[in-house]
């Protein structure tokens, strides 16, 4: 257990360092959210809304940045691992493949936290908006839960990436619908009912609700959203690990999985 956690940490740290050297990736997770936040806040600001709405919108933009980081990160992480020739060595090692991939997915969503923080700071100090967070502690908890949820969803996506090298385009297609499903871009109440239903199964959507609740200080909403986020995240982890095990088995049997 301890050695496995240590490897998880190493995989997280080293992947983060490797990612930090990739220019396109940095644009996605650092520059893009700030641009999105500026546009979103300007749109809402023009309507002369109160500080609470502005904060929610800024947060929505921040979370979109997190999505971009995670989806291009989790998707890219596997194909990068494959193209770096690291996928096969990790499969051939005693540590489960899921642990290495989890480290990578967490690294991507960690860069996402940066994007949340940067966006809020930019909205507050760059755009001079009245950002108000009722409960900073809840915000921290909700953000951590969202990181785990996003990483878990990334891991689940990565299973399909191991199976189908072309699934990268699938993850790119996912990026935009997920912004909508999480209610990050548009409040869910404005969308058709079925989209709201679909968003129930998306762990990070609950994470976003928890983040929004921490802004307004609604403790009950926060509790429910956080709990659901954690439960669904655990389900993702369990499902991913099980799937990865059978994917690995298939790869060894049929050799259809291009490990190298």
């Amino acid at each position: 257990m301890i050695p496995r956690l240590r490897f998880l940490f190493t995989a997280w740290l080293f992947h983060l360092r490797q990612l930090a050297t990739l220019k396109l990736y940095i644009f996605d997770s650092v520059v893009l959210p700030v641009i999105l936040a500026t546009i979103a806040v300007r749109l809402v600001g023009a309507r002369g809304d109160d500080g609470g709405t502005i904060t929610t919108v800024a947060l929505g933009a921040a979370v979109m940045g997190m999505w971009a980081a995670t989806l291009s990160g989790a998707g890219g992480a596997i194909s990068r691992m494959r193209s770096m020739g690291l996928l096969e060595p990790v499969v051939a090692a005693p540590t489960p493949l899921a642990t290495a991939l989890a480290g990578n997915a967490l690294a991507s969503s960690t860069l996402g936290v940066y994007s949340v923080t940067a966006t809020l700071l930019w909205a507050r100090y760059g755009l001079g908006l009245p950002i108000t967070v009722r409960s900073p502690l809840m915000l921290v908890v909700a953000t951590l839960a969202t990181i785990a949820a996003t990483a878990a969803l990334g891991l689940l996506l990565s299973v399909s990436l191991v199976m189908y090298p072309r699934a990268q385009s699938v993850s790119n297609i996912f990026e935009y619908p997920l912004w909508i499903l999480t209610g990050a871009l548009v409040p869910l109440s404005l969308l058709p009912g079925w989209i709201g239903v679909a968003s129930w199964a998306i762990a990070p959507a609950w994470g976003v609700k928890a983040i929004q609740a921490s802004v307004t200080g609604a403790a009950t909403d926060f509790g429910v959203a956080t709990a659901l986020c954690v439960v669904i995240t655990c389900a993702y982890w369990a499902l991913s690990t099980a799937l990865l095990r059978s994917v690995e088995r298939l790869a060894r049997e049929r050799a259809t999985l291009p490990l190298s």
């Binding site: 992947h15 360092r17 770096m84 020739g85 290495a100 060894r252």
Partner: protein, 321 residues
């Protein structure tokens, strides 16, 4: 337990199914003794990497039994993975934006090597592979030869008893290749058992105690390098360029005394004929006589290459089949 570190019995590996199925490894058996330097020699597509991947547990055998240090590669996957080290050729397999030392840490943690052990082992392995001076540099700045030595260093992080090297010198310049070969030879002195694949005859000759020659998924020769060369039984090659000679007359070349094999490549109306013969007989005159009145565009005799050895081994195998 026997003193064999690796045992391969009737290994078969088929890729694909139905009509498209292809036997990459077709019923091979061999064993590698403890402390031995063993080679698998074979041309492209012979099935070397396929065999290696079965040993590494990243491919399942279609049939047959393979065990390493007594552990079955299908049933005891985790035990096998903990006990073998391997190097798959190529300049990938690292976090290239990170340093050599950082990559070593990654692989140590991947193999659950305790930190206390890492502190002494990482410098030792970097020293062994001659990378100490560059340990703090990013791997992307390394030459292919250096990357290959780093591969060897990282394959040793968990101190495995068995080491598997797949074409460790391919794509590396002669000096780099010699360094890798020296390093591989040194592993035996550290008490390791080494299994190496290569398509360089000289490499196998210089390094291996014993070897098997693999062609089209089958073992066509085995034994000490000396035995294999004798088995190939060639030392002189005569090449001819002809046009429109009847097969019957070409077949007649096989009957010339000292000729071990005749191989014909046809391109258009041109025929390129490669005649292999024993060292002590000069067949040129006899060949010219046999082809009397035919149009011989070119005739030349040269020292045999590895390819010639394969041709001899494979065509003699075809003869038997």
């Amino acid at each position: 337990m026997s003193d064999n570190d690796i045992e391969v019995e009737n290994l078969v590996r088929v890729y694909g199914r139905g009509a498209g199925a292809r036997r990459a490894v077709d019923d091979i058996s061999f064993e590698v003794r403890h402390g031995e330097f063993f080679g698998i020699l074979g041309p492209n597509g012979a099935g070397k990497t396929t065999t290696i991947k079965v040993l590494l547990t990243t491919l399942l055998p279609t049939a047959g039994r393979v065990s390493i240090l007594g552990h079955d590669v299908v049933r005891d996957v985790q035990r096998v993975r903990r006990r073998i080290g391997y190097v798959l050729g190529g300049d990938k397999g690292f976090y290239d934006r990170l340093t050599a030392r950082q990559n070593m840490i990654y692989f140590c943690d991947l193999y659950e090597v305790p930190h206390r052990v890492q502190r002494t082992r990482i410098p030792q392995l970097l020293e062994l592979t001659g990378l100490t001076a560059r340990a703090g540099d990013k791997v992307e700045t390394f030459s292919r030869g250096m990357k290959q030595r780093l591969h060897i260093a990282r394959s040793l992080v968990h101190d495995p008893r068995v080491l598997i090297l797949d074409e460790p010198t391919s794509g590396i310049d002669p000096i780099g290749a010699r360094e890798v070969r020296d390093l591989a030879a040194g592993l035996i002195r550290l008490g390791k058992t080494v299994l190496l694949t290569t398509h360089y005859m000289q490499e196998a000759d210089a390094l291996c105690d014993r070897l098997v020659v693999l062609a089209k998924g089958r073992i066509v020769a085995s034994g000490a390098p000396r035995d294999v060369k004798q088995l190939a039984g060639i030392s002189r090659v005569t090449e001819l360029e002809l046009t429109g000679v009847e097969q019957r007359r070409l077949d007649a070349l096989r009957d010339i005394e000292g000729v071990t094999s005749v191989h014909v490549d046809v391109s258009g109306i041109q025929q390129i004929v490669r005649v292999q013969s024993a060292a002590d007989v000069d067949c040129t005159a006899a060949i010219v006589r046999a082809l009397e009145s035919e149009k011989v565009e070119r005739i030349a005799t040269r020292e045999p290459t590895l390819e010639d050895a394969y041709v001899a081994l494979i065509s003699s195998q075809d003869g038997k089949a």
